[in-house]
C-alpha cells in the first residue's frame, strides 16, 4: 500500500505538460511513418492485420493531393511545441490551445473513422492508434484544465 501511495504521489508530481508531450511524440512517430511510406508511393505495413493498404490507397487518404498523415505530422508537431511551452511557462493559454487543437483533431478522427468503417470498409491499425493517442491527449488536456481551473479559483 505504501509503495503504491508513494508511486501515485510521484506520478502526480510529473508535470502534465510532459505527459501531453509524450503522447504528442507517440502521435508524431506514427504520423511520420505513415507520411514517409505514402510519400514514397508505398503502402503501410499492417503485419497480419489487413486494412492499411486499402485505406492508404483510397481516395480519402489524401486531401488536395497531400496524404492525411502529413497533416497529422503538422498537428502533432504543433501540439508537442505547445505541451513543452506550457511545461516551461505554465501559461494556461498554451494548455487551452493544446486542448482546442486536440479536440479539433478528435472531430476529424471521428469523421475519418466513419469513412473507414462505412465507406472504405477497412480499418488501418496505424490510423486507429494515432486516433487513440489524439483522444488521450484531448482527455488529459481536459482533465488538467478542469482541475487547474478549480484549484486556481480556490487559491484566489
Amino acid at each position: 500500500m505504501t509503495t503504491r501511495a508513494t508511486g501515485w504521489r510521484r506520478l502526480r508530481r510529473i508535470h502534465p505538460g510532459l505527459v501531453l508531450a509524450t503522447l504528442d511524440l507517440i502521435g508524431l512517430a506514427i504520423a511520420s511513418y505513415l507520411s514517409s511510406v505514402e510519400l514514397r508511393g508505398e503502402v503501410p505495413n499492417c503485419g497480419p492485420l489487413h486494412g492499411c493498404e486499402q485505406v492508404a490507397l483510397s481516395q480519402y487518404s489524401r486531401i488536395g493531393g497531400v496524404p492525411v498523415a502529413v497533416f497529422g505530422v503538422g498537428l502533432s508537431l504543433i501540439l508537442f511545441s505547445l505541451a513543452i511551452a506550457w511545461w516551461r511557462t505554465n501559461d494556461g493559454r498554451l494548455l487551452a490551445m493544446h486542448y482546442g487543437l486536440s479536440l479539433l483533431g478528435v472531430v476529424f478522427e471521428l469523421y475519418f473513422t466513419y469513412l473507414e468503417l462505412f465507406v472504405i470498409g477497412a480499418v488501418c491499425v496505424w490510423c486507429a492508434t494515432y486516433g487513440i493517442s489524439l483522444v488521450a491527449r484531448f482527455l488529459v488536456a481536459l482533465w488538467v484544465w478542469v482541475h487547474r481551473e478549480r484549484a486556481d479559483l480556490a487559491l484566489e
Binding site: 478542469v146 484549484a151 484566489e156
Partner: protein
C-alpha cells in the same frame, strides 16, 4: 431537493483555511467557471466541422464505378508465354501470387513492377510466373477467371494490366462485374464468344480453386507474395527486390 450549500472541494477548503491562518479576509469560494473551456470547446468543434466540410468539398463524394473500362497492356518488348512474363530461360524465377482486388497488389504493380520490367526482365535476368490467389470475394474469383480466359487466347498479361487499371475503390463493389470483364475482353480485342465460354468453363473454376489451394500449400497467406527462386521475399520496394535477384543470379 436538498437546500444545503454545495460542499467545497478539499483543495478549496485547504486554501480557505490557509487564508484564514494568514489573517487574510475570507472570501466566498466561487464555483469553478466553465465558460472558458466551453468557449474553446465550441470554437474547436466549429473549426473541426469546417475542416471536415472542407475535406468533403476537396475530395468530393465517393466515386461510383465508372461506366467505361480502362485499357491496360503488357509491358512492351518483354516476351510473354502464358502466365510467364520475361525470358523463359532467365536464371531467376519470381513466383508472384496475387488477387486482382488486392490494393497492395495494385500498389506493387505501379511502384515496383515498372522498375523490375525495365531492368531485370528486360535484361533477361529474371522472369515472373503469375499465380492466382483469389481470396477477397466473388469479384476476385471472376477477375481470376477473366485472367484464365484471356490466357486461353495468349493475352494474359494484357488482361493482368487491364484488370489492375480497373480495380475498384471498394472490394466486390462492381468493378469486376461480368459486364465490365466482358467489356475489358472486348477492349483488348479478344474473341468475346470464346472468352465467355472459357470464363464459364469448369477449367476456369479449377484454375481459381487450385490456385488458391496451391498458394496456401506454398505458405502464402497474403498478396502480393513474391517467391524468388524458392525463397519468400520479405522486403519492400524495388531496391530490396533487385538486391535479392542479383544475389540469386549466377
Amino acid at each position: 431537493m436538498s437546500t444545503e450549500p454545495v460542499r467545497p472541494l478539499r483543495r478549496e477548503r485547504r486554501a480557505a483555511a490557509l487564508a484564514g491562518k494568514r489573517g487574510e479576509p475570507r472570501r466566498a469560494v466561487r464555483q469553478p467557471r466553465t465558460f472558458g473551456i466551453g468557449l474553446v470547446s465550441l470554437g474547436a468543434l466549429a473549426a473541426g466541422l469546417v475542416v471536415v466540410a472542407a475535406v468533403l468539398l476537396l475530395n468530393g463524394q465517393p466515386k461510383a464505378v465508372p461506366a467505361s473500362v480502362a485499357q491496360g497492356a503488357a509491358p512492351a518488348g518483354i516476351p510473354t508465354a502464358g502466365f510467364v512474363l520475361g525470358n523463359a530461360a532467365a536464371p531467376v524465377t519470381i513466383d508472384l501470387y496475387e488477387d486482382f482486388q488486392c490494393p497492395a497488389c495494385l500498389a506493387w504493380g505501379t511502384s515496383v513492377f515498372p522498375s523490375l520490367t525495365r531492368n531485370e526482365l528486360a535484361a533477361g535476368t529474371a522472369k515472373i510466373v503469375f499465380h492466382s490467389f483469389a481470396f477477397i470475394g466473388q469479384e476476385s474469383t471472376d477477375a481470376a477467371r477473366a485472367g484464365y480466359a484471356a490466357n486461353q487466347q495468349g493475352r494474359f498479361w494484357d488482361m493482368w494490366a487491364t484488370l489492375y487499371a480497373n480495380q475498384g475503390l471498394h472490394e466486390n463493389g462492381g468493378a469486376f462485374s461480368r459486364a465490365r470483364l466482358d467489356a475489358m475482353a472486348a477492349g483488348l480485342g479478344l474473341d468475346t464468344g470464346r472468352f465467355a465460354a472459357d470464363f464459364d468453363s469448369a477449367a476456369a473454376a479449377a484454375f481459381v480453386s487450385e490456385g488458391a489451394t496451391a498458394a496456401q500449400a506454398a505458405g502464402v497467406d497474403s498478396t502480393p507474395t513474391l517467391i524468388v527462386d524458392g525463397v519468400r521475399f520479405s522486403g519492400s520496394g524495388y531496391a530490396a527486390l533487385a538486391t535479392v535477384i542479383a544475389a540469386a543470379a549466377p
